[in-house]
């Protein structure tokens, strides 16, 4: 059998969208190579998510209780499920956590892996993964030649298409095993807001906002849209906001459906992090700013006037 195993992700007890994106992508692969889709969730409460995953193609929804996140513990548990299910293809999220455990899982399973794929297709029974390289200046297509083909996949890069799977619910006995890194404490003070990595809308501010006292203008728009707050490196280097908001080459790579850049010039290093966004809106008073070369919608105007007007307009239509 040429089954596909998806590792899904939860956040604060809720199913992340990437879990459905990967299950849907797995369904297409499994249909092409003739196999089943198993979606694994790290939870002791798998029943509550089974319906959602069945609706996008999961034949089996597996719950494994591996406790608090640790890359080693998750890798041990996921590998145990791989040994049991013997999938031909494994899809994992290219999330903060996924990047860490996927590397260990690949070695345990003696598999080749393509990380940060944005496109998945099938050719001659093998998955072809497409990924941007060299800051998005080229795209590479790879096949994995080992028995198990592994991929980590960028959030928002896969369509979610309804297609009913068998949806059987299973509980796995896999355990975290030995973990040699102990978590002493966590500081999640920036944690309640929408996270950049999987946000479907991002509103970002650049040096054009003039100073840290003006973030509320950008944040208001973000809050109105349920969007994550991004920033250019210039604002981070100036100390206006923490590095965790930085988008770009030396910040986060994002692929939202909509990226709204306010007062950002569009330097190549910034584009490297957001260039694959589906729709890009640029608000910049300099009509020659490079950001307009990639913007779907360009607004040549003062952000201090346009952004608040946009916020109140959205408030009106979104209620």
């Amino acid at each position: 059998m040429a089954d596909v195993l998806v590792v899904g992700e939860l956040k604060n007890g809720e199913l992340k969208k990437i879990s459905k994106e990967l299950t849907s992508a797995a369904r297409k692969i499994a249909d092409a190579i003739g196999g089943k889709v198993h979606t694994l969730l790290i939870t002791d409460n798998v029943d509550s998510f089974a319906g959602d995953l069945k609706a996008v193609g999961a034949d089996a929804v597996i719950g494994a209780n591996l406790g608090e996140f640790s890359p080693e513990g998750y890798a041990n548990g996921i590998f145990a499920v791989i040994q049991e299910k013997k999938p031909a293809v494994v899809l994992m999220p290219h999330s903060a956590q996924g990047k860490e455990y996927s590397a260990r899982v690949a070695i345990k399973a003696n598999a080749g892996i393509v990380a940060d794929a944005v496109g998945l297709s099938v050719d001659g029974g093998k998955v072809v993964a497409k990924k941007p390289i060299y800051s998005g200046k080229a795209y590479a297509n790879f096949k994995v030649s080992s028995d198990i083909q592994m991929f980590t996949v960028r959030a928002n890069s896969q369509e979610v298409t309804p297609k009913e799977g068998a949806g059987a619910v299973e509980k796995s006995g896999a355990s975290a095993g030995e973990v040699r890194t102990k978590s002493l404490s966590k500081d999640l003070s920036g944690g309640n807001k929408v996270q950049l990595a999987d946000a479907s809308i991002i509103v970002s501010g650049g040096r054009g906002i003039k100073g840290p006292e003006n973030w509320p203008i950008i944040q208001d728009l973000a809050d109105t849209l349920g969007a994550a707050l991004g920033a250019s490196r210039a604002t981070v280097d100036a100390g206006w906001i923490s590095h965790s908001h930085q988008v770009g080459q030396t910040g986060k790579t994002v692929s939202p459906n909509c990226y709204i850049a306010c007062g950002i010039s569009g330097a190549i290093q910034h584009l490297a992090g957001m260039g694959s966004s589906k729709y890009i809106v640029a608000i910049n008073k300099d009509g020659d700013a490079p950001i307009f070369k990639v913007a779907t919608y360009g607004v040549v105007a003062d952000l201090f006037e346009v952004v608040p007007a946009l916020t109140s307009e959205f408030k009106k239509v979104l209620g």
């Binding site: 096949k143 002493l184 999640l188 965790s244």
Partner: protein, 253 residues
């Protein structure tokens, strides 16, 4: 303490990339050390400055990567090793990690440090794969590292914040921006780096089993949908047009 730092040479972001069939055209490309690996080199040197020992810089790639190793020498590493492979091999993280892990195993290193990702392939795989191959713990996205003998306390970036973890050497670490400020090589360092030896290792010597990735093709990035600049008399006009475009045309909000 024996510290191995992993140094990857990548095209400078500003450089023009010409896409060939299965690799890029290297003519005119400016090569740099991947920025996160600079944090790794700096951290390695700082650990040695505190705890004594030796820092070994390793770079995997074709002949040109020796330049990156010279820079590492100029910053202050003690030894440099070049694992000589064709550039496309560096697309394959499992092959790369196998070659490097086999080298590091023989060195019996206490700490392995690399960047959180290299800026050409952005895979974030090699260092953690090495940890798995060497059967040691790892700390990813490190912002702070403190050693107390074998015991290591680290602060690292996680989604939405930071985490303090405790583990022990031997271990592997990936460096995130904020870990330190990399030093500039001194002129004296640059001069003496030119004469220092670079040890060359071939894949056969390192006993790796081979690549698990096939490069099917490279292609230029997909063209972006032609954008348009909105026309309006005032901010209110822009706002209502944008809302309309995003809701009715793009259907994203």
């Amino acid at each position: 303490m024996k510290i191995v730092v992993l140094v990857k040479q990548v095209p400078d972001t500003e450089t023009n990339i010409k896409v060939g069939d299965k690799s890029i055209n290297e003519a005119g490309v400016k090569w740099i050390i991947s920025p996160y690996d600079e944090f790794a080199i700096e951290e390695g040197i700082r650990i040695r400055e505190k705890s004594g020992g030796e820092v070994i810089a390793v770079s995997l790639g074709p002949d040109r990567v020796v330049e990156a190793l010279r820079t590492a020498y100029a910053m202050g590493v003690d030894r440099a090793v070049h694992v000589k492979v064709d550039d496309y091999v560096t697309f394959d993280s499992t092959y790369t990690s196998e070659l490097l892990a086999n080298f590091i195993k023989a060195e019996n290193a206490d700490v392995i440090i690399g960047g959180r990702q290299s800026i050409d392939t952005d895979s974030s795989q090699v260092v953690v794969q090495i940890a798995e191959r060497l059967n040691v713990p790892h700390v990813a996205m490190a912002l702070k590292l403190e050693f107390d003998g074998k015991k290591v306390t680290a602060t690292r970036e996680i989604e939405g914040g930071t985490e303090v973890v405790e583990t022990s050497a031997p271990l592997a670490v990936t460096a995130q921006k904020g870990l330190n400020e990399p030093r500039y090589p001194s002129l004296k360092g640059i001069m003496s780096a030119k004469k220092k030896p670079v040890d060359v290792k071939k894949p056969e010597e390192l006993g790796a089993t081979g690549s698990k990735l096939e490069v099917v093709s490279l292609e230029p990035p997909p063209p972006r949908i032609a954008g348009r600049k909105l026309e309006a008399a005032d901010a209110q006009g822009f706002a209502s047009q944008l809302v309309k475009a995003l809701r009715e045309e793009a259907k994203v909000i």
